[in-house]
């Protein structure tokens, strides 16, 4: 199993602020082509490429762009989402600092296709270095005629604003992100209407993850057929996998989709588990994905296969837990994080996340009862079913999967007390 460098090809190859270095390595070819092509045929190309969103939900990018492009009334907005708050996921930083011009090129193409006149890049406040770099980059791009009026001598004009995140997990959700730009409290909203209809300031808005955007110049520069040669038929391309947890070596690796199994990936790149024990469980798609038992890691790295195995590929943040880790510790760590991140807008998540955190806390202190387990299940299922946004629907999943995979660990925690 080997890395396939499609998006990370130029990472570390040129000085991030040096546009000529990027140009020399095949940069801006896609943008020049895009500006001389109609937006309909560009949407068609992205659609044929089979590109889906890399932020977790996996919505087809071409369809999203088509919806925004079809809206006739401007102004429209484009937002690149690099507010990476998900546990175990740190791929955005690689693109932000490793190949920022490619991201910028992607943003410009997307803004051109949907007809946006203002674009934003929303960067997590933890990535201070990236924010600094991007602020300089915007000035540099303006000087090179890549931002502002008449980009590269065409009629197309767009501006880019670098926005520093506000330190909340929920702002990674598209509506919460939009709310925070509108000077409201960050909260999810009921959909529809989708942001492509009524987004930022009530105008059509496209929010794309930074990894999705990085794919765009690659597709347009090399052509759809060349792009589809990577990955599998239903899911072309590559993905950036973040590897962390109880492993010797953590990092971000770009792999062709479906090029191997989860077990192969962990064995190949992790350098073994931290203490050399076996693997107890793995979360393949960030903190909100279901746990997979260490014995069932034979699924290939595609959305479909991982779903069949009982989890989600989500943000492709692979977190490894080795044997000897207590199940309750794992669950408690996750719930402590999500427990203070609900925006409070809808009741199931607002109340559920705190109740679940408290129950898990009680269980791990050895003060839980049998009813607690039943309650944990019920609250979790309710949140998944009726929460407004992705966070409420997702945070109970690892807890529910742990209850299913390791029921004895939970029961032992209870019997331990009564004995």
């Amino acid at each position: 199993m080997k890395e396939t460098k499609l998006l990370t090809r130029r990472v570390g190859k040129y000085d991030p602020l040096d546009l000529s270095g990027y140009k020399a390595d095949g940069g801006l070819v896609a943008l020049k082509r895009a500006l001389s092509t109609g937006f309909e045929s560009l949407i068609e190309e992205i659609r044929r490429s089979g590109l889906v969103g890399r932020g977790g939900a996996g919505f087809p990018t071409g369809a999203k762009w088509a919806m925004a492009a079809a809206e006739e009334q401007g102004p429209k907005y484009f937002i690149c989402n690099a507010e990476e708050g998900e546990l175990g996921t740190f791929k955005d930083k690689v693109l932000l600092e490793g190949d920022p011009w490619m991201v910028l090129e992607g943003i410009l193409i997307a803004a051109f296709v949907i007809g946006a006149e203002q674009s934003y890049i929303y960067i997590s406040s933890e990535y201070e270095k990236s924010i600094e770099l991007w602020e300089k980059l915007v000035v540099e791009a303006g000087r090179a005629g890549l931002l502002g009026d008449g980009i590269l001598g065409s009629k197309f004009s767009v501006d880019l604003q670098v926005v520093k995140g506000k330190g909340l997990y929920i702002t990674g959700e598209e509506f919460a992100l939009i709310s925070s730009l509108e000077a409201r409290r960050a909260a999810g909203r009921l959909k529809p209407p989708y942001p492509t209809e009524k987004g930022l300031f009530g105008r059509p808005t496209v929010v794309n993850n930074i990894e999705t955007i990085a794919n765009v110049p690659v597709i347009l520069a090399n052509g759809v057929e060349a792009y589809r040669r990577f990955g599998v038929e239903d899911e072309p391309g590559t993905r950036l996998f973040s590897l962390s947890g109880d492993v010797k070596k953590t990092g971000v690796y770009e792999l062709e989709i479906g090029s191997g199994t989860l077990a192969e990936f962990i064995n190949e790149f992790s350098g073994g588990t931290a203490n050399g024990r076996g693997i107890k469980a793995v979360q393949p798609g960030g903190g909100t994905s279901a746990l997979l038992a260490g014995t069932s890691l034979g699924c290939t790295l595609t959305t479909q296969a991982i779903r069949l195995a009982g989890s989600e590929i989500g943000t492709a943040g692979v977190m490894v837990y080795e044997d000897g880790r207590s199940t309750l510790d794992i669950v408690r760590g996750l719930m402590q994080f999500y427990g203070s991140e609900s925006c409070g807008r809808c009741a199931p998540c607002r109340i559920g996340v705190v109740r679940m955190r408290d129950i898990v806390e009680r269980l791990s202190q050895g003060e839980g009862t049998t009813e607690d387990l039943e309650q944990l299940r019920q609250i979790g299922k309710t949140c998944v079913a009726v929460s407004t946004c992705g966070m409420g629907q997702a945070f109970p999943i690892p807890v529910l999967s742990a209850l299913e995979l390791f029921p004895h660990d939970f029961e032992a925690a209870i019997h331990h007390v009564s004995a």
Binding site: K164, K166, L168, L181, E182, A183, R184, A186, C343
Partner: protein, 100 residues
């Protein structure tokens, strides 16, 4: 004895005057810094309010009450509306010593 007490008192007064001078200077410095931030964005509107307040937070380490009053007048939002949003974010602080 009385002399000593007087000296101590005088010293106290000097301290108070000194610190008030310092805070006046501080005040002037801050007002100037704030006006520069306003100049940078050109015009504070509903659309760029949070971008602007983010800059204030960065410059001062918190968002002073006076700033909220000022931007409320500039944008037409009520102070309550702005505080309602501000307080929901972890990275906005309302006092220098706040850590949550």
């Amino acid at each position: 004895m009385e002399k000593v007490v007087f000296l101590l008192q005088a010293r106290g007064w000097v301290d108070i005057i000194r610190s008030s001078l310092r805070s006046k200077r501080m005040e002037k410095f801050r007002t100037e810094a704030y006006q520069n931030l306003v100049k940078d964005v050109g015009c504070v509107t509903k659309e760029n309010l949070f971008l602007f307040l983010g800059k204030v937070q960065e410059a001062f380490g918190y968002v002073p009450r006076e700033v909220v009053q000022d931007v409320a007048a500039k944008t037409g939002f009520s102070e309550t509306r702005i505080y309602g949003a501000l307080t929901s974010y972890r990275d906005f602080k309302l006092r220098l010593e706040d850590d949550c």
